[in-house]
């Protein structure tokens, strides 16, 4: 099974309901977004005038570039298929691709907050959420669209799909050939691949030819420079677990934590 989302640009009116509903559902900090809507144009595509939208979100890629960059120690995790109850135990770092539903998820408790995954994502779909702090990271944790996994597992639609005023967002199982999303793929819905990449994005777009051309022309991203990303990740993997250990054994203690919070708050004032 592979969850995917279709954005039908013929239906989308660029209203931003999806981005605000997401903010409310998941208490996303004001300056960040798990999804976004950009308006492109009006500009000329060939000789035709065009204007359309890029309602973006995590692509929950077939071959996500973010997952292998996570420097957190791999641990065994048991996954459960929400539909069948089947389980599978896999060794994963703090971010992974779910073996059952194909979504890409993050374990915030184990996330080091290093930002490697966010840096490597060509879509800028990840951000470091400064509100999520613990002994591992005072700077926040990686965060992003989960395809509303907790809602979907509970039998609901993703919040953005539920609120979409024109039914322009369609969510479902891309591996089921009879699903609405698969029908869209058959009719030509495509993901945005980065230049030179083969990530297999599972959030896909469908629209008029000129609108799709405008979308691809303006929104096709470049792959990140891996050596930069990896250097940062490596540093984080060395430093952060050490900090955690220090705090755990009470070297800083209550007083230290209060000071740490003070420092954090004063940083934010700037």
């Amino acid at each position: 099974m592979q969850y995917g989302m279709i954005i039908d640009l013929e239906r989308c009116v660029g209203c931003h309901a999806c981005t605000i509903a997401c903010k409310a559902e998941w208490e996303v900090p004001v300056d960040f977004g798990r999804n976004w809507v950009y308006r492109m144009g009006p500009s000329l595509v060939g000789t035709e005038m065009a204007s359309t939208y890029y309602p973006g979100l995590c692509n929950h890629c077939e071959d996500p570039v973010c997952v292998p960059e996570c420097p957190a120690d791999a641990e065994e995790m048991t996954f459960t298929d929400a539909k069948t109850g089947k389980t599978a135990t896999v060794e994963v770092a703090a971010t992974w691709k779910d073996p059952f539903d194909g979504t890409v998820q993050i374990d915030k408790a184990r996330c080091l907050g290093c930002g490697a995954c966010a840096d490597v994502c060509p879509y800028n779909a990840r951000y470091i959420n400064p509100d999520l702090v613990d002994d591992v990271s005072d700077e926040g944790k990686a965060d992003k669209c989960t395809y509303c996994k907790p809602r979907v597992d509970a039998g609901l639609e993703p919040a953005c799909v539920q609120t979409c005023i024109t039914d322009a967002r369609i969510f479902g199982d891309l591996s089921d050939p009879d699903s609405a999303v698969s029908r869209y793929v058959k009719n030509g819905a495509v993901g945005i691949e980065p230049n030179g990449g083969e990530l297999g994005p599972n959030s896909r777009y469908y629209g008029k030819k000129k609108d799709m051309a405008l979308l691809m022309e303006t929104q096709t991203p470049e792959l990140a420079n891996l050596s930069h990303v990896r250097r940062r990740a490596m540093l984080a993997s060395l430093v952060k677990p050490a900090m955690k250990k220090a705090k755990n054994i009470g070297l800083l203690g209550v007083v230290g934590a209060v000071i740490a919070k003070g420092v954090m708050d004063s940083n934010k004032e700037e």
């Binding site: 509903a21 809507v37 359309t52 609901l156 979409c164 005023i165 024109t166």
Partner: protein, 747 residues
């Protein structure tokens, strides 16, 4: 009460506003050490409260709330709704940021500074109401009821408006929704078909949709957009007439890049062609038409060529539109528009649209203009007392109407001119309720002078606005999420589905906070103080709603049981009323001294070197009302000015340049915005979203964001038939770093 707190400091001190804070910081600030949960739980596990009706805009979608510890954490569309369903727009979703906005009005305030430059002092409700009641009574006694003017907006403003209009007896009420928005449309259609048209076009079932200036998509009302997109998905052809490649133009089959102000010429040429080529609906016209021959004779001169020259579009394109409409008739949606106060020639354009709909036989047919049959509920309010007909500013000494097709109330300019001249009588009291006349009505400085000369100004609102700065007494109102009032009725949005009707009443999703009160309480208390106690129609807003529901055999308790929405069987919407008539020629209009058939009136063109200021909407804002909403502000923080790219290149301007404006009267914009260059706009105008550039520093998020387009409208145009404003007759030059960027002579 100190108001010099920064937003951040306020957040830190006001635990009641904690929803605006990340949970982690709340816990951390309380205990000092405790960390937040790393995963937010999601609102779907929270308690559902039903009965909400949105008022982030006037469309009023049906809501449910998710509450956690009595705090509203999310707003959703009511799944039982046959109107908006589970969908709500960005503004609807952002309602909780209005509810918990730390800048919201909390207590009654008295202005101990000056109007426009206020210093606020917190006072008790007793003191505030006493001041309002006493001061308004003084005005009434000294100048008569006509000395009180009212600027209302929104569903809470109806009750106080009726009090001042019906019980006290002033005509001087200026509703923005009429005089700066849709009033012209409504009276033009009433003068043609006897009915105000709403936006009642059956788009889901239509073969062609004609939008004149309507930019659906940038202009968002949920079930209306559902109808529009359903129509396009069902294969309707879309014709968009707009000087700009709008959100709708981007979905169109034909974009008519019309010269601003010339739409009526375009419509007359289409009608003339339909008539001369006998492509109109002859059966319909014979059965329901009146004055067809007068129309046919009167518009004979309007060839495609003549219109093409006037409208600056190809004659062949006008023909293409006319043929498409004729082929698709009668299943065509000739959209009546909504905000139509454009050029001061608007009554005639709206008449043209109503007549074109008639020529195409597109009333009460599938895909045409179909109002739907709504259930009836009550309308309890103040009883209309006998007031003498005099003191109506819209009637002259000879008992003739100055603007005979004025919507209800009194045309804004007549009120303002009387206030400023004291003739025919002084206007010295002002009640502003939910409206922002500073950023809504053209002639901002004039409005300020009007307010300056008042003996007393009171404002009631949920948020500080540019208008609340002019109050002597400022009263905090409960928001739509915390009160009863409005009853929303309607039908399922797609007439192709099973015919159903619904009745839903606004019920609070959460309890009011601070000292905010509702409109019935505030109005009744003022009424008592003014000596109108015996006229009070209801004691509480809840009682008003119960009485209105009773007419439909419902109660609030019953509605609650039915998840907030009562649904019943509907009626065939396509049934034509027996006495339906389309007045192609209307002799009443002619008797009043205006053209009896739709007639094109030219508008002033930009002086050399100037660009016409065009404005419109963005989907995340309801004008200035939502500017301080932090989620919506972040989504579209300013209003970039659209400038033709070729022209921009000649002027040396590029995307992102920070610019201001100076208009034809030398008025300079107070703030700046950025340039958006595009081939998708004509070279004789610029475009920006309306409602930005608020000047009230108490709006810590929205203040000075973008440019206030209304501030640049110093030239005031009035549509003569209706007395409503024309707001697109101002012209600007672009400034950068304080210097005017001239348009090169070659451009």
């Amino acid at each position: 009460m100190a108001f010099n707190l920064t937003r951040r400091k306020f957040l830190q001190s006001a635990s009641l506003a904690a929803v605006a804070l990340p949970l982690s910081e709340v816990i951390a600030s309380e205990s000092g050490i405790q960390r937040s949960p790393l995963e937010t739980p999601g609102s779907f596990q929270d308690k559902t409260v039903v009965g909400g009706i949105c008022e982030m805009c006037f469309w009023r979608c049906q809501l449910t709330g998710k509450t956690r510890n009595d705090r509203l954490v999310k707003i959703e569309g009511n799944p039982k709704s046959i109107d908006n369903g589970t969908a709500i727009c960005a503004r609807g979703n952002a309602g909780i940021q209005l509810l918990y906005d730390p800048d919201r009005l909390k207590y009654p305030l008295k202005n101990v500074g000056e109007r426009g430059n206020p210093k606020w002092k917190r006072i008790s409700w007793d003191e505030a109401l006493k001041e309002c009641g006493t001061k308004l009574k003084e005005v009434e006694e000294k100048y008569g009821p006509q000395g009180i003017s009212v600027f209302p907006h929104g569903s809470t403003a109806k009750y106080p408006m009726h009090f001042f209009e019906r019980a006290v007896g002033t005509h001087n009420v200026s509703e923005a929704s009429f005089f700066q928005c849709r009033g012209i449309r409504d009276t033009a259609y009433v003068a043609t078909t006897g009915m105000p048209p709403g936006e009642f076009v059956d788009m889901p079932n239509s073969k062609a949709i004609l939008l004149i200036g309507s930019h659906l998509g940038e202009n968002v009302h949920v079930s209306h957009i559902k109808r529009y997109i359903k129509g396009l998905q069902n294969g309707a052809k879309l014709i968009v007439v707009d000087p700009r490649y709008s959100a709708s133009a981007a979905k169109s089959d034909i974009w008519v890049k019309i010269k601003p102000g010339t739409d009526t010429a375009f419509l007359l040429a289409i009608m003339n062609y339909l008539i001369t080529e006998k492509k109109y609906d002859q059966d319909f016209v014979e059965e329901y038409g009146y004055g067809f021959d007068e129309l046919a004779a009167g518009i004979k001169e309007w060839s495609f060529e003549k219109a093409a020259k006037e409208c600056d579009v190809p004659a062949a394109q006008i023909k293409e539109v006319a043929d498409l409409l004729a082929e698709s008739a009668p299943g065509v949606s000739i959209h009546p528009g909504r905000h139509v106060s454009w050029y001061g020639n608007d009554f005639q354009r709206q008449r043209s649209l109503a007549c074109l709909t008639g020529l195409l036989g597109a009333y009460f047919v599938k895909g045409g203009w179909v109002p739907g049959k709504n259930p009836k509920v009550g309308g309890v309010s103040w009883a209309k007392k006998e007031h003498e007909g005099e003191h109506n500013l819209n009637v002259d000494e000879d008992d003739e109407y100055l603007h005979p097709f004025s919507p209800p109330g009194t045309p804004t300019e007549l009120i303002r001119d009387a206030a400023l001249t004291g003739k025919p009588y002084p206007i010295k009291g002002c009640v502003i309720w939910g409206q922002n006349p500073i950023q809504t009505i053209p002639g901002q400085e004039k409005m300020k002078d009007v307010l300056r000369q008042m003996d007393f100004v009171m404002c009631v609102d949920v948020m500080p606005t540019d208008a609340t700065m002019w109050a002597d007494i400022l009263l905090p109102e409960v928001s739509y999420l915390e009160r009863y009032d409005y009853i929303k009725t309607g039908t399922q949005w797609n007439f192709a589905d099973k015919q159903q009707q619904y009745i839903s009443a606004r019920m609070p999703l959460v309890k009011p906070m601070f000292e905010r009160k509702d409109q019935v309480y505030i109005t009744n208390e003022i009424a008592r103080l003014m000596g109108y106690e015996k006229d009070i129609p209801v004691q509480t807003v809840e009682e008003m709603v119960e009485k209105n529901l009773e007419v439909a055999g419902l109660t609030l308790e019953q509605l609650r049981k039915e998840d907030g929405i009562h649904i019943r069987e509907g009626k065939n919407p396509y049934q034509m009323p027996e006495d339906f008539e389309v007045m192609f020629y209307n002799e009443d209009i002619e008797d009043a001294g205006f053209p009896g058939i739709p007639t094109y009136v030219t508008v002033e063109q930009p002086p050399k070197g100037f660009l016409r200021l065009l404005y419109g909407r963005v989907p995340v804002h309801t004008f200035n009302r939502s500017q301080n909403n932090i989620w919506l502000n972040k989504a579209m923080p300013d209003n970039p000015v659209w400038l033709n790219d070729a022209l921009a290149a000649k002027m040396g301007l590029k995307d992102g340049d920070v610019v201001g404006f100076v208009n034809q009267d030398g008025f300079k914009s107070r703030t700046t915005t950025t340039v958006k260059t595009t081939p998708g706009i004509r070279t004789d105008g610029v475009y920006m979203a309306h409602g930005y550039g608020s000047s009230n520093p108490l709006m810590s998020v929205g203040v000075d964001a973008g440019v206030d387009d209304t501030s640049l409208m110093t030239k005031i145009t009035v549509d003569p038939e209706t007395g409503a404003h024309g707001m697109r007759n101002n012209f600007v030059k672009i400034t950068k770093d304080g210097k005017v960027i001239e348009i090169p002579a070659s451009a």
